[in-house]
Symmetry: C2
Subunit: 704 residues, 2 copies
Amino acid sequence: MKLDTLLKPDSIALIGASRDPEKVGHKIFKNIVDSGYGGSLHPVNPKADEVLGHRAYPSVLEIPGEIDLAVICIPAKAVPSVARECGRKGVKSLVVISAGFSEVGRGGTDLERELVEICREYGMRMQGPNCLGIIDVQSKMNASFASTRPPIGNVAFVSQSGALGSTILNWALQKDVGFTTFVSLGNEADLTAADFIDALAEDDHTRVIALYVEGVKDGKRFLDVASRVTRKKPIIALKAGTTDVGMRAVSSHTGSLAGSDTAFTAAFRRAGIIRVETLEELFNLILAFEGQPLPKSRNVLIVTNGGGPGILAADACEKMDLDLPLLERHLIEDLRKRLPPQASVHNPLDVLGDADENRYRLAMEAGMQSRSVDSMVVVLTPQAMTPVDDIAQAVVEVSDSYDSKPVMAVFMGIDEDSPGLCSIRSRDIPNYLYPEQAALVLNSMCEYTSMLERPQQEREEIEGLDRGSAADILREARDDGRVNLTIVESIRLARAYGIPVPRAAIAKSAQEAGELAEKIGYPVVMKIVSPEIIHKTDLGGVMLDVGSREDVERNYERMTKRIRVAMPDAKIEGMLVQRMYPSGREVIVGAVRDPQFGPLLMFGLGGIYVNFLRDVSYGLSPLTRIQAREMVNATKAYTLLRGVRGEPSSDIDAIVDVMVRLSRLMTDFDEVMEMEINPLFAYEQDCLAVDVRVTISEEKDKEE
Amino acid sequence: MKLDTLLKPDSIALIGASRDPEKVGHKIFKNIVDSGYGGSLHPVNPKADEVLGHRAYPSVLEIPGEIDLAVICIPAKAVPSVARECGRKGVKSLVVISAGFSEVGRGGTDLERELVEICREYGMRMQGPNCLGIIDVQSKMNASFASTRPPIGNVAFVSQSGALGSTILNWALQKDVGFTTFVSLGNEADLTAADFIDALAEDDHTRVIALYVEGVKDGKRFLDVASRVTRKKPIIALKAGTTDVGMRAVSSHTGSLAGSDTAFTAAFRRAGIIRVETLEELFNLILAFEGQPLPKSRNVLIVTNGGGPGILAADACEKMDLDLPLLERHLIEDLRKRLPPQASVHNPLDVLGDADENRYRLAMEAGMQSRSVDSMVVVLTPQAMTPVDDIAQAVVEVSDSYDSKPVMAVFMGIDEDSPGLCSIRSRDIPNYLYPEQAALVLNSMCEYTSMLERPQQEREEIEGLDRGSAADILREARDDGRVNLTIVESIRLARAYGIPVPRAAIAKSAQEAGELAEKIGYPVVMKIVSPEIIHKTDLGGVMLDVGSREDVERNYERMTKRIRVAMPDAKIEGMLVQRMYPSGREVIVGAVRDPQFGPLLMFGLGGIYVNFLRDVSYGLSPLTRIQAREMVNATKAYTLLRGVRGEPSSDIDAIVDVMVRLSRLMTDFDEVMEMEINPLFAYEQDCLAVDVRVTISEEKDKEE
């Protein structure tokens, strides 16, 4: 396993171990001792002979034997020299608890950089600085200043917030959720979330990885690691700082970089990470993923002893797009015989207010035997004679004897410490306070199942890419020091990557315009090309539907004259002559380069609606055809493209092709910062990038 | 107070009181006894001399003295005769626990009707049948079969689901939430939710009314009562059966009618009812409304001892459109002096991980003194040395000394039974497990405040309504036995109510068409009028932009000939000649008649987008201009109407005027079932109802 010397060290030195119970250096040392750590443990404290009965050393260098892990909690300024001593001693890993690094600004950033350089020099890996520490429950090591010891189990928690650590650990204790590892990331100067995820993926005890992040340090590596790991075990992530205000808080509170939330959403989706919106959701999902099998479909059976709660559960399932199928006829008939006549054998299956454990058992067994049902939500409300504990026992037994379908309990208004709920919890059946929580969790499990079932499409071959021409176009613009490509360059760039564009060229004279039009074919559109003129139409700088050479030449003269009168200082570079095509349904395809995750593609409804409807979807590059198709399907524009009111559908494959080509272009050329096609005309057959804009980076590539 | 003999009876007869502890009739009697009920209590049981030490009577008729309330729990079939005895005895109110009425189908419905007639005959009011009973905590009466006794307090709970009753009561116990009254509505054969809300509005102890409903019995009365009551105290409602599946469950599980959810949403908004989506939200809102003052604005101060939790809280506030203003400069400077230098004095205000009660007190006092802050979310995570109980005490004290701003505590991962949380709860400060809950609650409180502040607009005078003409048009169609008005009738109806419509009439001959066109003015649109022809355009039955009398007459002949060839059997009633107007932005204004709540108006984006974008909003009739304007503002179409990309804005006042007039028309004429204007062209000045469709009811009004 990776990071072994950090997560499961054979020997620990605690540098800054203190005898003063108020000090962090004492608390952590005590926690390591109290947790039952079985390796060798050495306090380092030049002012003490012993700490809590362990012989103390003035320096790490004086400890006899090898040291796997040094935990450092001394003032920030002293950390580099101590780290250097650790390096000389041959220490493998560091956990730097001390604060006062990049999170406090300039001076701290320098100190942090020095510290990282020392780690590199000596080949040490470092967690932190500015972290709460690490707990590895399996190896009985609590090297953190949280005194709560979570029970042993299958959940690993990696958190960018130390403050949430204690909340998470207390919650685990309350809900009997067992942990393998708890990691407080701190400033991630060396080891990042990706490194820990990578290591935990190989830990057989860890079944679920939970993550609290505000930003990620290396987007691409994070994506690579997470994409691989989610195929093996679920990663559930709470990303904070999602909103503007939240992001302000991120930058003022931690040294971490908050990524754009859109890119995060796309990245998490791409990596198969299950994203939650709240801490509550995070906890609720952990409960289910940790102990329950994955559902094979979205078909849920609700069992309830009350009409109202059954309706609430049905509403909640419906909102989550879960299905409530009826049972097979023979199961229904069997239940009809064995349940009281007033019971409802539909779905929700209502076993009535006076139901005992036998009725619940009958209902649940029918659900387990049914081929139309793949998960169950068992709702209970305490009524006059409800034998709660016996029913809990029945839930556990049925769940145990058929272990292939997930079961969610919703025992409402029952004391958490009742024997029934304790027994349900001890068998890893999640119990939720409200049916909405169970529905939300089931939906997430279904989405994870779908993700696992989705074929992993390899990067596909795209034909007709003229990389050389594209590079030439870009080089020329950059040699000129321009960041915006001209319309003709933009169209040529798109064409080089096989994106259908209008036939167009720039003419410098009336005669040239006429000749061009003859080559391009009529009708044509003519547009003044001038960097100073933004609103071409207002100034008469655009002519549509020009049908003959004669008209083209006449218009050239007339339009240039008109502009010279209206804007005498405007530099007229010529006239764009472009074939005029019939209009199609207008969509937009664009790409920007996210600093964390690279090219981010966008698809949506185009034209005047793009701004106010914001009907767009996003996906990260490299985009496969399947992913591009999913982006299209995720928009309302999709309904329009399929044809409303019996109109014929548009060529969605052609749009998908444009998206995939644009994605490849962004991947191939780092210098393209933004590229947008708006509108892209969608036709019954084929599509056309009517207007293309390209922005490139100011600096040259390092390679060139 | 209304319903006094039910909620606070001086004497109770329990008909069906049993000596068998397994029977409901025993359980309820015991609950009344155990609850400490102080009035006179008489069991009725022909087979027993006494029940639990109280002398039993064979019939209610033999009990000496007056009886305010009879609680009935005997088999359904025997209920009517017993009710009749109650009537003869002069009993004022009944609570019928017994099931077996309308909820079991036909036979039960007849029995229920009989029961209601008996109540009417003797002037008795009845709760139920098929209910859990009633608890009035103030008068120490638990006449229900729920054995949980909620603490005394300020919350009244009215529930259509008996099964949820025990869940609600247990929750109240766990969270120390005090109740005034708990009512299980049952089938609402006589007394409905509206009756209880009406009564509870007058109860001074009741500060919050909570409601669980699946449908309402009399929509208009419910609206009237609730609209009045919400001005005095908040009503928080959970409406179940919101989705299709949910609604199926409603109809199969209870005798209640599930209203269309859209109408419910509009009705709740109109009545000022705070609608929640889940039981959890319901409980969370009760906690705050019951004990905290209303916030004067959306400006929230977050106080936290951890960065991560602060960000989560900030995210949650932002999502709820709450604002996080900075404190005034003098307060910031004061805090800078008194808090450690690393503390963040922005918002979230981070008092750091080692914060004690004094730092929290400083931060909260600054918030209380600030004029830019009107509520506070106090976040605490337990860290190494966090003195949780002392901080809780500080929260209570600051909150007590400045009682004008609501305070929400979010003490995360703290044991509910810790002294700190107990003291917070006992002062009616809500504590939430997660910051998202506090934000959601604050948002609801702000919305309630806005509702209270919104001027109550009286039904306004609308000029230019020609009620007589409208009535004539409708009468004519109904006399013909038609449910669809012709296009000309529809246009005339709209015009009678002052809605701008195109000039149009039907011609029966080419010459008539020519004469009409001369009157109407050119250009005109001509459309074949034939009930058999749906797709007029496909058959050449529509001509646009006809510019002269000559063309009109020629087109008349040509179009009728073409149709006769294409569809020889189609009856041609003539030709619509309509003035052709320039096209505007297309919106839709429509109305349907909801069976529960009456006319429901719709506004949205029109044209081809109406179907796939579903960008629409709803509001109940009668609609004031303010309400109509709010409906427009709630759509994305509003952004379009205001003008995108610098285009001029449309005449929204004119659209609002059309909405108000359509609303009035629907209110004035019950026989209009649906009326839709699509598209309504919106211009810079004015608007035009280009196409109008009207459907009327099949049966004649009873009045006529």
